[in-house]
Structures are given as C-alpha cells and as structure tokens.
C-alpha cells in the first residue's frame, strides 16, 4: 500500500537457528544500543531486562548425542490481533501502519503489566526498579534512545532510534524513502554469523521476504494466529518439531528425569 507519505513497509526478520551459535553478542549489542541498564545484582532470568534473549534449547538427547538450538527470542512483531495492543488500557502500545513495528511508549505506560501477561513470547519486560548505571557509564548512553523509568514495560522495537536516524538522513536529501543499508538493528549488525536477516517483507525481492517464503522456515506459536513478522529457519528435524510442539517438557524439567 503506497501513500503520498511514502511506501508502507512491513519490517521483519528471518533467523537461521542453524547459524546461531549462542555467542550472545546480539544481547549485548541490543542492551548497549537501547540503553538497557546493567542488571541489579539480584536480577535473575525472570526479573532482568533483555529485549533480545537467546534461549539454549536442548534436543533432549544424551551425551554425546545431545544437540542444542540457540533461539533468539524477542518481540515477534505480531501483525494480526497483536496480543499486547488490544489489552493496553491507555494506548501505550500500537502498531505503526507505515512500518509494521509494534511500538511501546514508556511515557504513556502506567505499568499495569497486562501486556506482559498477554504476550505468549514473554518478550515484554518490566522495570522493577529504577535504572542504574555505574558512575560514568551513564554518560555513555546512546543519545538516540531515552532511558525508561521504573514501573513501565519495555520491549524490542527493531531499534527505532536507528530508523529515526535513517529517516532523518533520507529527509535531509529530500526523500521519504530510507536506504535499507541505513536501517539495520543492532542485533543484526552485531551478528557475525549473519544468522539474522532483516528487511521489508513487503518488498518481495528482498532477501528477508524470499527467506520467509522459503522451505524450512517457521514461526513460533503460529497457530495462535497472531501472524508474527519474525521467522525462524532450521533444517534440523528436531528443531522444527520442537518449534511446532506445545508444552514440551523443558530443559529443567527434563533434568528431573
């Protein structure tokens, strides 16, 4: 759909789970880019803020046949009946029709956490305490992203600060169309394995659109019908099976025998 204000895009990603080696660079690049503070000493897997989180999923086989898939999990940018949007009582979450990006506005958020219970991907994080940086590190914040205050939810927005910069660069040249090379999210940029391909799904010729249509590409919880724009790719049969299964006994529960 085109308008006088430029083409509408649907930004999305395809992540190759066979390429991801779980190095964690994307998580750190994301935190640095988006001014996510270092976790408090008491932060845990369940209270810390990681817009981008890589889960190590085990195949369940024994040593030495055991296999691991590293699954980067973050906001899946659902397109249809986006679970977090309809529940927010005060419109702090919305989907941008021009980019398809699901945005979360911390300034509007009252911290009811309803969106967090609604998100099946657990991609939303709450600021349980005020953000704190060690003295000096607070002067190293990314000037393009505002830090969030205590008591609000936050999540991945495909590095919106970088989209702003790309748009401003295009605007300075008198154009409304951004150069795809100018808009690359931090996780994609930091991934040395090129496991993440990012781009406009509306552009059928783009690499991301081709990969999304390709074989061995799937989405997590696709049967919920929320049409996420983040796709995954793997040729390993057990990974595909895992992705489509429900309530598989987890790594920890497996541990109990």
């Amino acid at each position: 759909m085109d308008s006088e204000h430029g083409k509408n895009a649907r930004f999305g990603m395809v992540i190759d789970l066979d390429r991801c080696d779980g190095c964690g660079a994307c998580m750190i690049a994301c935190a640095v880019e988006n001014n996510v503070p270092p976790g408090h000493a008491s932060a845990t897997e369940r209270t810390g803020i990681t817009w981008m989180r890589v889960a190590a999923v085990e195949s369940g086989q024994e040593y030495p046949a055991a296999d691991v898939a590293f699954v980067p999990m973050f906001c899946q940018q659902c397109e249809n009946e986006t679970p977090c949007i309809s529940v927010c009582p005060q419109n702090a979450v919305e989907i941008d029709p021009a980019t398809g990006i699901v945005g979360q506005i911390p300034q509007r958020c009252l911290g009811c956490r309803y969106c967090m219970t609604a998100c099946p991907y657990h991609a939303r994080y709450f600021n349980w305490r005020d953000p704190a940086w060690p003295e000096g590190m607070d002067r190293q914040l990314n000037p393009d992203v505002s830090p969030r205050m205590r008591g609000v939810a936050e999540k991945c927005n495909f590095c919106h600060g970088r989209l702003h910069a790309a748009k401003a660069k295009a605007a300075a040249k008198g154009s409304r169309e951004i150069d795809p090379a100018d808009y690359v999210p931090a996780c994609v940029e930091s991934c040395f394995q090129n496991a993440i391909v990012f781009g406009d799904l509306n552009d059928h010729e783009s690499e991301v659109a081709k990969l999304a249509r390709g074989a061995d590409t799937f989405r997590f919880l696709s049967r919920l019908g929320s049409e996420p724009k983040v796709y995954f790719h793997s040729t390993r049969p057990w990974v595909k099976e895992m992705a489509e299964s429900t309530l598989t006994r987890s790594k920890k529960e497996n541990g109990h025998g």
């Binding site: 369940r46 309809s86 009582p89 005060q90 911290g111 009811c112 956490r113 609604a118 919920l224 309530l247």
Partner: protein, 410 residues
C-alpha cells in the same frame, strides 16, 4: 465514652472492648501501609512478581474481592429493581461490603501499577478495546455509586442527623436509590464481566482464552453469573459471622434462607454454563490454538483435581445444597454451602490468574512457580484489616441491620 454516637436502641460492646477488637486490625493495617509505601516509593521489586509472573497475589485479590463484593450490586438489584423487600434487612451491610471490596481493590491496584501518578491516562487516552479500560471506568464509576449509597448509612448516625441539611440530603438520596441501584447494577454487571474478559481475551494464553460470544469472551458472562452467585453467599456468611461475633441476632432467618436460595440458583446456572464452557474449551478452543487441553493438567501441582474441585466439589455440590429447601433449612448445611460457594469462586479466580501464568506457552518454556513476598502479603492483609475496620466502625455507629432493633425487643 462514645455512647452519644451509638444509634439509639442498639446495644454495643463497651468502648474498651471495641478498642481491643480494633487495635490488632489497625496494627495489621499499619504494616500493610508500610509495605505499600515501600512498593510505591521504592519500586515494585519489593514484590516477588517478575516478567513472567507479571500478575500475582494482588490481581488475584482484586478479582476475588470484587466477585465477593458483588453482593452489593446483586442485593440492590433484587431489592430495588425486582422489589424483593426481605433484602432490605441486609442491603446496608451489602453496600458496606461492596464499598470495602471495591475501594480495597482500587487501592491495591494503585500499588500494583508501576506508575500510579499516570493512572488517569486511562481516562484521557482510553483504549476502548481493552478489558482493563472497561474495568477501570466501571470500577471508578461504581465506586462513586457505592460511596453515594454509603452516604445515607453514615448520615443516619445520631449526631450527624442533628444537622438539618444532612437530613434533607439523606432524604433526597433515598429517593434516587433505585436509580443508583440500576446504574450500579449496570456498571457492576459490566466490570464483573470485564474482569472475566481480562483473561478470556488473552489469545496468547490458550489456557485462559475463550471463544467470543458477541464481543466478549465466554468468561465475561461466567464471571457475571458467578459473582451473582458468590455475592449473596458472601453477604450471608458475613452477616452470620457478625452475628456470631457480636452474639446478637441481626436478621431474621428467612433472610438467610432467601440469600441462600438466590445464591444456589445462580450457582446452579453458573455450574451448568461453566461445564458447557469447559467442554467447548477442551474440545475446540484449546486444540485450535495448538494446545491439547489435558496437557495443562499434566503438571504435578495443577492436576485435573483442580478442575474437579472447582466445578463439582465447590460448584455443583453447594449449588444442590442451596437449592434444596430441606437442606437449606438446616443452618449448618446452609452456612457450609455458602462457604463452599465462596471458596469455589475464589478457586476459580485463582485458576484464572495464577494457573494461567504458571503454564508455559513457548515450547521451551518452563512451568513457573511464584510465592508472594511479605510486602505483597502485608498489602493483602491490609485490605482485609481495612475491611474489618470499616465494617466494625459502621456497625458500631450506624444502623447496619434495620431488623436488629426489632429483634432485640423480642
């Protein structure tokens, strides 16, 4: 000491005894206030909630007290709209209970949200699609209605009646009471439903998600009906409890019987609807989302026993007791059944809030557990203490049970 404040013709315990009763509750309330202060001033990390268990004890409390507080709207509805005059004996008590439950819920909600100073944004930038918007609007409006309904009870106090304007005001209020009851019923109906919808709309939580009937998920209606069943039972139970504590008869036995009957009929309807809903969910809704329903119950802590307890033990059983005139006539059966009804509804709210969040959604998720922190528990208990305090004060200084004076003469 405070004898000039106590309504004429009523017997009340000595002030000292009353103080002895009040003080522990006040202390509990104080501890809760301190816990609330910690959460408000320092941040919600004082709770044991986390990103995965984003709703905890407090939301459970809200859902439960509002279901139990439904006695206010349903009694009002029966009295003012359906003209069941016998309920005028408990209407004041029901209103006070409603006010306590609703104001307690609102206070806890304000502590629960991360940025209470921005709570008014819901009114300024409302998202009409959100169940929580519906809840907020109805809750606020209904709280106002309850406050207005509560006013005449307070204004009837001996000392306050001396001010002529208050008397006139109270008289005027009485005239609009049926209107208020109507408005209250409407509002209450909606937000009970919306609270049910709160979880029913969660497409991402197949355990809670329900098909839509009209524009609301089925839980919307189930919550309305179940609240209507629990409300009268709760009024019945509290009244009985107050009778036990004060060692006085406050209402005639017929009132208890009538409340029990109402509760039983509503509960029977509810159990039937709930059973239908559960079957539809097991056979259609949940599998459609890719989740075979019985896998939810494959966890040791939440087996199918919880479903059975909720629907049969604490649903069908008390419903049958309450609708049976013979059993209802026996106080032990009546009060046990009322208690079971309340417990059943509390269990239902627990399943909706806590079990939903404990269950995994992603294939590599883990089953989660959560235990509230002392700050959460203290806040929870503060609401309880607050309820006891308000109820005790109202009971002491106003005519909460109009039949009390007459029964005293007998």
């Amino acid at each position: 000491m405070d004898s000039t404040l106590i309504p004429r013709g009523l017997e009340r315990a000595s002030f000292g005894k009353f103080l002895l009763w009040i003080l522990p509750w006040a202390a509990l309330f104080g501890v809760g206030l301190y816990a609330m202060y910690l959460c408000l001033a320092d941040g919600l990390y004082h709770t044991n909630m986390d990103n995965r268990f984003a709703f905890g004890l407090w939301i459970y409390l809200d859902l439960t007290v509002i279901a139990l507080g439904a006695g206010a709207f349903f009694t009002g509805f029966l009295l003012y709209i359906l003209h069941r005059r016998e309920l005028s004996a408990v209407i004041n008590s029901a209103v006070v209970l409603g006010l306590i439950c609703y104001s307690g819920a609102v206070v806890v909600l304000m502590v629960d949200v991360g940025q209470p100073l921005r709570a008014w944004f819901t009114f300024w930038h409302p998202n009409v699609h959100s169940m929580l918007t519906e809840v907020t609007f109805c809750l606020t409006c209904y709280l106002l209605v309850l406050a207005i309904e509560y006013a005449p009870i307070v204004l009837k106090n001996r000392r306050l009646r001396q001010v002529p304007r208050f008397l006139a005001f109270e008289f005027e209020l009485h005239k609009v009471m049926p209107v208020l009851a109507g408005v209250g019923t409407f509002l209450s109906f909606f937000h009970q439903g919306s609270l049910g919808g709160l979880y029913g709309v969660l497409r991402g939580r197949p355990f809670a998600f329900r098909e839509e009937l009209g524009i609301w998920p089925s839980t919307f209606f189930l919550f309305v009906v179940s609240a209507a069943a629990a409300g009268p039972s709760f009024v019945l139970l509290t009244t009985w409890l107050v009778q036990k504590i004060t060692r006085k008869q406050l209402v005639e036995n017929e009132v208890f019987m009538f409340l029990g009957k109402v509760s039983g009929i509503m509960l029977l309807v509810y159990v039937f609807l709930k059973a239908v809903d559960t079957l539809v969910w097991i056979n259609s809704t949940s599998p459609a989302a890719g989740f075979p329903a019985f896998e939810y119950y494959a966890r040791t802590s939440f087996g199918t026993w919880i479903l059975f307890t909720e629907i049969v033990l604490l649903g069908l059983v008390p419903a049958l007791i309450l609708v049976s005139g013979r059993l209802r006539a026996k106080p032990a059966w009546l009060f046990s059944a009322a208690l079971m009804t309340c417990l059943g509804i509390m269990l239902n709210r627990f399943v909706m809030t806590i079990q939903t969040l404990a269950l995994p959604t992603l294939p590599f998720d883990e089953f989660l557990s959560y235990a509230p922190s002392w700050e959460e528990v203290a806040t929870f208990l503060a609401v309880l203490a607050y309820g006891v305090l308000i109820y005790s004060l109202t009971f002491r200084y106003t005519v909460l049970f109009p039949q009390e004076r007459d029964l005293l003469k007998h």
